[in-house]
């Protein structure tokens, strides 16, 4: 029994990690006022880049760095279209998703069916990992897990309590007033989109070099879209994102737990997506004034307009 609990908890944390990383990035991006629907594509680019670089160099850390760089670069497309050109952020994000999924499929084709010989090793934290039950669950995880938790706390602290955080939030709440304070709203938003992309890249790297050791087309399997829903569920707060991400991690794991009971595997595969709708539905029942959504989210802002 103890083994089952440990194994389920471990797998929940593993499945939730990419969701958490992606959600932190999307929170930062949306707080600055830009909706990025390209997460699915950017995550996929991150996954394929991390895989290829790890495959070639034999070092998953190089893979991670490359994934962050590639994902940040491709996110610039969305930043340029939605900030500089004031295009519809919905359409631009969709274009980024198509492009990202397409490029990763094209580049990754030769690597399908070639598993990595090395993957991101778990870090067992001395002493703490020896605690019964809690130790193996929380303190013997992949570096991605620790990074996700630390970055969530860091992003939360930065957004809530630092000058930089206020700048980012005000760019999303009232870009015109922000501009009058001498802040370059375009630059703030550019960086937030790029950083958001970097987080999606990390999430992708986790999928292909830690969660599994292989690349297959479409391996992001809608996680990018779940991330966007989780951003709303988390009320644009990185700390709440932790709860949401691991809740969904649990839903991914439940599929494998319930399968032996004779429930249709296709029905179980629906669960994460049904849960996403359910979570949004619950969110909608809350008082919308307490929702905390950035006021100017997805509204194109043009410098010098009234």
């Amino acid at each position: 029994m103890e083994d089952i609990i440990i194994s389920v908890a471990q797998r929940t944390l593993v499945a939730g990690t990419p969701l958490l990383l992606g959600t932190i990035g999307e929170v930062i991006c949306e707080r600055s006022g830009i909706l990025n629907l390209g997460v699915e594509g950017v995550m996929s680019v991150g996954a394929v880049t991390a895989f290829i670089i790890t495959f070639v160099t034999g070092n998953p850390w190089f893979g991670l760095v490359a994934a962050i760089v590639a994902a940040s670069l491709i996110s610039v497309i969305h930043a340029f279209a939605s900030i500089t050109l004031q295009a519809s952020q919905v359409v631009s994000g969709l274009a980024l998703t198509m492009l990202g999924l397409g490029i990763s499929g094209l580049v990754g084709k030769p690597y399908i069916g070639k598993p990595l010989t090395i993957k991101m090793q778990n870090w067992a934290i001395p002493v703490l990992s020896d605690i019964p039950i809690v130790g193996p669950i929380l303190f013997d995880r992949s570096p991605f897990f620790y990074m996700a938790i630390v970055l969530a706390a860091l992003a939360w602290f930065t957004l809530e309590y630092t000058r930089l955080g206020i700048t980012i939030r005000s760019a999303g709440e009232n870009p015109m007033a922000t501009e009058t304070q001498g802040i370059n709203v375009y630059r703030v938003r550019y960086w937030c989109v790029i950083i958001g992309g970097a987080f999606s890249g990390m999430a992708g790297a986790h999928l292909s070099t830690s969660y599994s050791k292989s690349w297959i087309e479409g391996m992001t399997a809608g996680r990018g879209w779940i991330v966007i829903a989780l951003t709303i569920f988390a009320l644009w707060n990185p700390m709440r994102a932790i709860i949401g991400a691991f809740l969904f991690g649990g839903i991914f794991v439940i599929q494998y737990l319930l399968q032996p009971l004779g429930i249709s595997p296709n029905f179980l595969a629906m669960l994460p997506y049904i849960s996403t709708l359910f979570v949004l539905f619950i969110g909608a029942l809350r008082d919308s004034r307490k929702m905390n959504a950035p006021a100017m989210l997805a509204e194109p802002y043009r410098r010098g307009e009234r």
């Binding site: 629907l37 594509g41 497309i77 279209a81 050109l85 004031q86 295009a87 519809s88 919905v90 359409v91 631009s92 969709l94 274009a95 980024l96 998703t97 198509m98 492009l99 990202g100 999924l101 397409g102 490029i103 990763s104 499929g105 094209l106 580049v107 084709k109 087309e217 809608g222 879209w225 966007i228 829903a229 709303i232 249709s264 296709n266 029905f267 595969a269 629906m270 997506y273 049904i274 996403t276 709708l277 949004l280 539905f281 909608a284 029942l285 919308s288």
Partner: protein, 361 residues
């Protein structure tokens, strides 16, 4: 100092639209060439292969028209939805629902009824199926302010699995030796094709007629006016007393229903049974998003832009075979073209000029 000066373009003439379109497509093809180059493919050869594969032979042309049928239907419906800024990304599963409903009618009633009765019934059922599936996100958006991009996408994933449940479970065909397909539709419930092709002309006629009707509806009726106001100025729409809920419901009945019609066309015209979702649709619901965008959300232009993207789908199949490229190549094509179409819109809305700025040294 030489500076870029951006001002609003007040007079958008047809030649501006055409120029921005041509430049967007040209720039898009150039960018695609760069991507090809980096993946070790000769871009000129690949692009030549794509267009010669789709428009360069009679066989290619027939296939292009075949694949344009669902794109015209779905693209026309999406043009209406996108005009009202309802971002329906769920056409893929609205198509599948149409295929499910249509197949059910065909399998159960087909053996007892002649084709002039059963075929219209199947289309009707498909329309209803797609419309119901399209109404869910509309209600979720208006009544619960749930973002329709996410809800329609989640419904895509859910419907995908639902189709699989049907074909491996209760609907698995007795004549299919355990394969996960339904039985074949009876002959009266299949659509006939033009000789020597896969063009199921009944659906093609339905598609062309409906987008023409939609074009008229958008520009000449009160409903079309409401759709445009909701999209362009929601505040004005609210003050002028337009019923958001009602109009959105109608929009999604049209958009979902037309995708449903496309689903009946694919099931009854091409496959003749229900099988895996990927083989029923091959991403028409997503491609149609760009079809609608290239058509500038005008249902009439959708016919042309559907033919163009159907050509890319057919040509994409051709280079998969001849150059060994993955299916994702088509997505690269589509994504890149969409990016450049958006950028082209900027030059349509704004005048961009290089100017000597004397004041700032």
């Amino acid at each position: 100092m030489l500076k870029l000066k951006v001002t609003d373009r007040i007079d958008v003439l047809p030649r501006h639209s055409l120029l921005s379109l041509v430049f967007s497509l040209a720039a898009g093809l150039l960018a695609i060439s760069v991507i090809f180059l980096f993946s070790g493919v000769n871009p000129l050869y690949a692009i030549f292969k794509i267009f010669s594969g789709s428009f360069g032979s009679l066989y290619g042309l027939k296939e292009t028209v075949t694949k344009a049928i669902p794109l015209i239907l779905i693209g026309g419906g999406l043009a209406v939805a996108f005009r009202a800024k309802f971002w329906n990304i769920g056409a893929e599963s609205q198509l599948l629902m149409g295929a499910i409903f249509g197949t059910w009618v065909g399998l159960n009633w087909g053996p007892h009824l002649p084709w002039p009765v059963i075929v219209p019934l199947m289309f009707l059922a498909g329309f209803v199926g797609g419309a119901i599936w399209g109404l869910i996100p509309a209600i979720l958006k208006i009544k619960f302010s749930i973002n329709e991009v996410i809800s329609t996408l989640m419904l895509n994933y859910i419907c995908n699995e639902f189709v699989k449940i049907l074909i491996v479970g209760p609907w698995r065909g007795k004549t299919k030796h355990g394969f996960p397909y339904t039985d074949d539709l009876p002959l009266s419930a299949t659509l006939s094709v033009l000789p020597g092709s896969r063009i199921h002309y009944a659906t093609l006629i339905v598609a062309v007629v409906t987008v023409i009707l939609l074009g008229i509806a958008i520009y000449k009726t009160r409903f079309g006016y409401e759709v445009r106001v909701i999209g362009e100025n929601p505040d004005a729409a609210r003050y002028s007393g337009i019923d958001f809920f009602k109009t959105t419901l109608i929009i999604m009945v049209i958009s979902g229903g037309m995708a449903g019609l496309a689903g009946v066309g694919e099931a009854a015209g091409i496959h003749h049974y229900l099988s895996y979702p990927e083989s029923i649709s091959s991403g028409y619901g997503y491609t149609a998003i760009i079809v609608a965008w290239l058509a500038k959300l005008n249902p009439l232009y959708v016919i042309l832009s559907a033919l163009f993207f159907a050509g890319i789908l057919v040509g994409g199949d051709a280079i998969q075979i001849s150059l060994g490229l993955p299916a994702a190549t088509v997505q690269v094509f589509n994504g890149t073209l969409l990016v450049f179409l958006i950028m082209g819109d900027f030059f349509l809305k704004n005048r961009v000029a290089l100017q000597w700025d004397l004041k700032r040294n």
